[in-house]
Every structure is written in structure tokens, then in C-alpha cells.
């Protein structure tokens, strides 16, 4: 019975994404891109992403955001395009991609 676990991952990911992604996108990508802000210096980013706490938070954010996407997109395909008959395939693809990218995330963040 995997649905409760998958839903918990989806919820955790959705909450972290809701709380942290807008500010990250705004500060790291939009504001520097438009020219409103200088992007954070290499030193600052290296410091944040180098410490244990920063690494743990980044891992949690990225991995859970990916599983949030996988779960939600899977249901969007089921309901939006009526693709239940491809149930197994869609589940394998979405969670599979999320898992692979999560492994990549761990390697990048902790490597």
C-alpha cells in the first residue's frame, strides 16, 4: 500500500517548494537576469552549499520537490488526459525520473 507514503512525499515536497522556491528563483535567477540585483557571489553560494546544514536542506528541497512533481504530474496525466490504462508505465516513468534525479542531486550536493 504505497499511496499514503507517496502522498506524504508529495505534501512535503509541495510545502518546501511553496515556501522556498519563489524566493530562490527571484533572488538567484530573475533579479540578476533582469539586472535588479547582483547575483550572490561564488563565495556566498559555496559557503551556503558547503556546510552540512545547507547540504541537508538543499537535498531535502530538491529531492522532495522532484517527488512532488512526480506524484502530481502522474495524476495530472491520469485525469487531464485520461491515461489510466497506462498506469504502470506512467508511475514507473514519473517516480523513476524523480529517483534518478534524486541520486544525481545527492551526488552533486554532497560530492
Amino acid at each position: 500500500m504505497r499511496e499514503p507514503g507517496l502522498w506524504l512525499l508529495f505534501s512535503a515536497g509541495g510545502t518546501l517548494a511553496a515556501l522556498f522556491l519563489p524566493v530562490l528563483v527571484a533572488v538567484l535567477w530573475v533579479a540578476p537576469g533582469v539586472g535588479w540585483l547582483e547575483p550572490p557571489a561564488h563565495q556566498a553560494l559555496a559557503a551556503v552549499s558547503g556546510g552540512v546544514v545547507g547540504r541537508l536542506l538543499l537535498t531535502a528541497l530538491i529531492v522532495l520537490a522532484l517527488y512532488h512533481w512526480a506524484h502530481r504530474f502522474r495524476y495530472t496525466l491520469y485525469d487531464g488526459l485520461q491515461l489510466y490504462h497506462l498506469n504502470q508505465l506512467i508511475a514507473a516513468l514519473t517516480y523513476g525520473v524523480a529517483t534518478v534525479l534524486s541520486v544525481v542531486a545527492v551526488v552533486v550536493v554532497w560530492g
Binding site: M1, E3, G5, W7, Y78, D79
Partner: protein, 247 residues
């Protein structure tokens, strides 16, 4: 104010036709009339063959739900005046097979409702001599809104997931299960959890939220489902962390 209004009503007579058709009726317009009054005028004066359900005509029995201009409503609670200038499209509630005209088959709902045991389940019965099961106002407040459900099925018609996924229990069933789960006199939480936690039971719900929007009794089934997901997920997590300690 116009004198008349046109209703376009979905007809389905299985003995005559393979597919539903539309039929137009011109009914008098009266400011105090509801859609149900117009339908009864049709049946009484224009076309006695039109079939539809209704009963209390005051929004408590849940019989007269239909799609009016694409929205699921209680026809006894929808003023014709709000639908001017017309024409007004009246169809049977979406999501249910149509038996005839505006009459849908609600069997699926009733079967699913029964499965969640919508009554007080006790493991141990107190003897009558001990008196009633007492409940404080706060304990009543915990489940009160879910007890307002009149089984009108508007939420099922509003829910696209119910139409798409056959195993989905649906908003009212889950809200009614919660009504009993949250009742301090009930001891049936675990029994219901098995049914609710089935693959589609509650997990098919993606919180579209339309069910709560259309509910005429402000039951908020979407809220009931969300709360139950949290509860079911917490129970699952607990069982996972302490294997063998489950129900």
C-alpha cells in the same frame, strides 16, 4: 420582466431512443418560481411524460439535484430570475447513468456509502441502564458540519475525478465516514480506515475543490478528505515505524 421563459430539457426515453435528446418548453416566468416550479408546470400542463425526482421543495431532502446551465444545483433552490433571459438548460446530474429523462441511477453512491458503515459503530455497548452516551457541545462541533449532508449528490456531479475514476469513493461518502469517525460516541475508525485507504478510496482525490463549492449545506467534503488523508498517512507511517503494532 418577461412573461415566459424557455427551458431546454434533456430527454431520454430508452424505449424510444438510443441517445438522449433535447426538448424545448416555454413556461410562464414568475419571479417567485424556482426551476423546480417550472419543471412541475411542464409536467402538469405541457408534457406529463417528463420524469424527474423531487420531494420537500425546500432544500432538505436532496432529491431534486440537476444540472442547470452546466452547474449542479438543487432545482428547488434556484430562482428562474437568476437564469434570465434563458434559455435554461436542464440535464440530469453528471457522473451518474441516466435511467430516464432527468432521473439518474445513484446505486454506485449507495453501494460505496454502505461500505464505510455510516452509523455509530461500537466495540463495546454500554448497557441501557448506564444511560445515554453523553457528548459536549465541543464534541458535537467536531463533526457537526459533516452531519449536514443531505445526500443530494451535487458534489459527485461537480467532481471530475468521480467521473474519471470508478474506484473513487467520492466526496459525500468520505465526508459521511468522517462524520462518524469524528463522533465521540463512535469506535469504528479502524474498520472504516480499511475501506477508505484502498487504492482509489481517498487517494484518487486531487483536491479540485469543486465539491465544497457546490455543496448546498456547506459540508466542506474537500476539507474532510484532506483531513482524512493526513490521518490515514499518519496511521500508515506509524504502522511502518512500528511493525506489528497495527490494528
Amino acid at each position: 420582466m418577461p412573461e415566459t421563459l424557455v427551458l431546454e430539457v434533456r430527454r431520454y426515453r430508452p424505449e424510444e431512443e438510443a441517445e438522449p435528446t433535447w426538448q424545448r418548453y416555454q413556461v410562464p416566468f414568475r419571479r417567485e418560481w424556482m426551476v423546480l416550479d417550472a419543471l412541475n408546470h411542464i409536467k402538469d400542463h405541457l408534457d406529463g411524460s417528463l420524469s424527474f425526482r423531487w420531494s420537500c421543495r425546500m432544500g432538505v431532502c436532496g432529491s431534486c439535484g440537476m444540472m442547470v446551465n452546466g452547474d449542479p444545483v438543487l432545482t428547488c433552490a434556484t430562482y428562474l430570475e437568476t437564469l434570465l433571459p434563458g434559455p435554461v438548460r436542464v440535464e440530469p446530474l453528471r457522473g451518474f447513468p441516466v435511467i430516464r429523462d432527468l432521473v439518474g441511477a445513484l446505486t454506485d453512491f449507495l453501494v460505496k456509502l454502505r461500505r464505510v458503515q455510516p452509523w455509530i459503530v461500537r466495540e463495546t455497548e454500554s448497557p441501557p441502564a448506564q444511560g445515554e452516551y453523553r457528548q459536549t457541545p465541543d464534541e458535537l462541533a467536531a463533526y457537526r458540519s459533516y452531519a449536514q449532508c443531505i445526500n443530494c449528490m451535487l458534489c459527485y456531479s461537480a467532481c471530475p475525478i468521480y467521473e474519471l475514476e470508478p474506484g473513487f469513493l467520492g466526496p459525500a461518502v468520505i465526508a459521511l465516514a468522517q462524520r462518524y469517525n469524528l463522533d465521540s460516541r463512535d469506535q469504528g475508525r479502524e474498520a472504516r480506515m480499511e475501506v477508505l485507504s484502498e487504492h482509489d478510496g481517498i487517494w484518487a482525490c486531487t483536491l479540485v475543490g469543486e465539491c465544497s463549492t457546490v455543496c448546498p449545506k456547506h459540508v466542506d467534503p474537500a476539507g474532510a478528505i484532506q483531513r482524512y488523508k493526513l490521518e490515514a498517512a499518519a496511521a500508515w507511517a506509524k504502522a511502518l515505524l512500528r511493525p506489528g503494532s497495527g490494528p
